[in-house]
């Protein structure tokens, strides 16, 4: 097969996404606020500031990206609409980025607070395996050429993954509670001074905006990829 020739005039050049720009500015502002204008936590010191990145990313990755992927996967198998497959794969990929952030910031925080980079706690373990599964999801998509088949396979994996995570969480929870536990400092302490609360919620909002912007960009890439594949097929 000859290499595909892309005629750029056929595909409108996408301008910079305004939502993405707004999101990046919001994240930058939140960083400034968190570092310079939010009090330092008395017990944990500056390390506590990781919370703003870590907890927001964790919530978005686990409860928004991943849930979105699972729901759109189910809907895809039902309605067979390609748009749903694009949303699912975009949510998985952007979710992977956020999960990676969680897994990188977690040990940094843990080392200072718990004195250990890693503990096999239920949350950490299920997040880690979720990360493995989403990586597998990406590899699976890359290894299937036929578009319909790729969509069906990844939807099946997405649904099974959603069923698996509670099992991993529960079994690791049991594994740990039957053994002595390291002293866990609950990051989500309900009593947070108002300045920190404001920083936390604005960080959450900024990252949510970033998630939405990245999802939209990634979705557009998926659409363009499909169109490119269609054009190539027409040519052949």
């Amino acid at each position: 097969m000859t290499p595909p020739v892309v005629v750029f005039s056929d595909v409108e050049r996408t301008p910079r996404d305004p939502l993405l720009i707004v999101a990046i500015i919001a994240v930058a502002l939140v960083f400034i606020r968190a570092l310079a204008f939010t009090p330092i936590e008395a017990l944990q010191g500056p390390a506590q500031k990781i919370l703003y990145v870590h907890a927001s990313s964790a919530f978005i990755a686990l409860y928004i990206a991943f849930v979105l992927m699972a729901i759109t996967s189910i809907l895809y198998l039902w309605l067979k609409d390609e748009k749903l497959d694009r949303v699912a794969s975009s949510a998985a990929e952007v979710g992977l980025v956020f999960t990676t952030v969680v897994l990188l910031t977690g040990p940094l925080w843990g080392k200072t607070i718990w004195g250990a980079w890693w503990t096999w706690d239920a949350r950490l373990t299920s997040t880690l395996f979720l990360w493995f599964i989403i990586v597998g999801y990406g590899l699976l998509r890359g290894a299937v050429e036929d578009r319909g088949r790729r969509a069906r396979y990844s939807a099946v994996l997405g649904i099974l993954a959603a069923l698996l995570v509670p099992f991993i969480h529960l079994s690791v929870y049991m594994f740990r509670t039957l053994h002595p536990m390291p002293i866990l400092l609950k990051p989500s302490s309900p009593s947070m001074p108002p300045e920190m609360q404001i920083t936390f919620f604005s960080a959450f909002g900024a990252f949510l905006l970033l998630f939405a912007a990245l999802l939209r960009v990634r979705y557009r890439v998926a659409t363009l990829r499909d169109r490119l594949a269609d054009l190539e097929q027409e040519r052949a």
Partner: protein, 234 residues
């Protein structure tokens, strides 16, 4: 083949049994996959022994972990072959053309795989008892039950992923990549419950882990049976 099934298409379970019998007949006549998985399991059991300081960790503590890790890896070898054998001459088309429900193909394949992994366990379990000098007790019977529960969960997920992985560009790598995260609750449940039984603890202590295994089996046998038709090209 029986005359009774010659004219009317068989029911879901009867058809599943036919598919399973076909796979087992192929396996029985060639024996390659089973023997290599078996030798792999036995080699693994012996090599694992030297990966630990036997004076620091007693064999009884080591054995359950070894058994279940080796079991999942050996099981993967069998699962690989499950749909791999349908690739030659597009044999899968013959299966899909047969007047049987899609679910029957899945259940049949899974049954054949179950026989495969249980067969491996039947040899590996005594080998672990032998090599790790475990006391032979009534716990072995309960262990057989755990083994069956673990095998059902492993086969349910593995058969589905085998059907998917075989149609991809890197089947040999993708099957373990996709399956292993799903084997985590199985390995944990099986290892934890058998560790307690082997140590002579009462069954009640192993019960919460057995519940996890049973719940896993119910959820994933159902989900994978329902999902299987979506992995086939119509």
């Amino acid at each position: 083949m029986d005359d009774a099934i010659a004219n009317t298409p068989p029911g879901v379970l009867a058809a599943a049994w036919l598919v399973a019998r076909k796979d087992l007949a192929i396996e029985f006549r060639t024996r390659t996959a089973f023997l290599s998985a078996l030798v792999f399991a036995l080699l693994g059991v012996t090599i694992f022994y030297f990966a630990w300081d036997s004076t620091a960790v007693s064999a009884v503590d080591l054995a359950p972990g070894v058994l279940w890790v080796i079991f999942t890896f050996a099981g993967l070898l069998g699962l690989q072959r499950s749909f791999g054998s349908e690739l030659a001459d597009r044999a899968i088309d013959g299966l899909l053309g047969a007047p049987v429900a899609r679910e029957s193909i899945y259940v049949g394949k899974a049954l054949a795989n179950l026989v495969f992994v249980v067969g491996i366990l039947v040899v590996t379990l005594p080998a672990v008892v032998l090599f790790y000098n475990l006391p032979i007790s009534s716990a072995l019977l309960a262990l057989a039950g755990i083994a069956l529960l673990a095998a059902i969960g492993l086969v349910a997920v593995g058969t589905l992923f085998s059907a998917m992985a075989v149609n991809t560009r890197m089947a040999e790598l993708l099957l373990p990549m996709l399956s292993l995260p799903f084997f985590v609750p199985i390995v944990m449940g099986a290892a934890q419950s058998s560790a307690r039984l082997m140590a002579g603890r009462p069954v009640a202590e192993a019960l919460p882990w057995l519940r996890i295994l049973v719940a896993f089996d119910i959820v994933f046998v159902t989900a994978c049976t329902l999902a299987f038709p979506f992995t086939l090209d119509e």
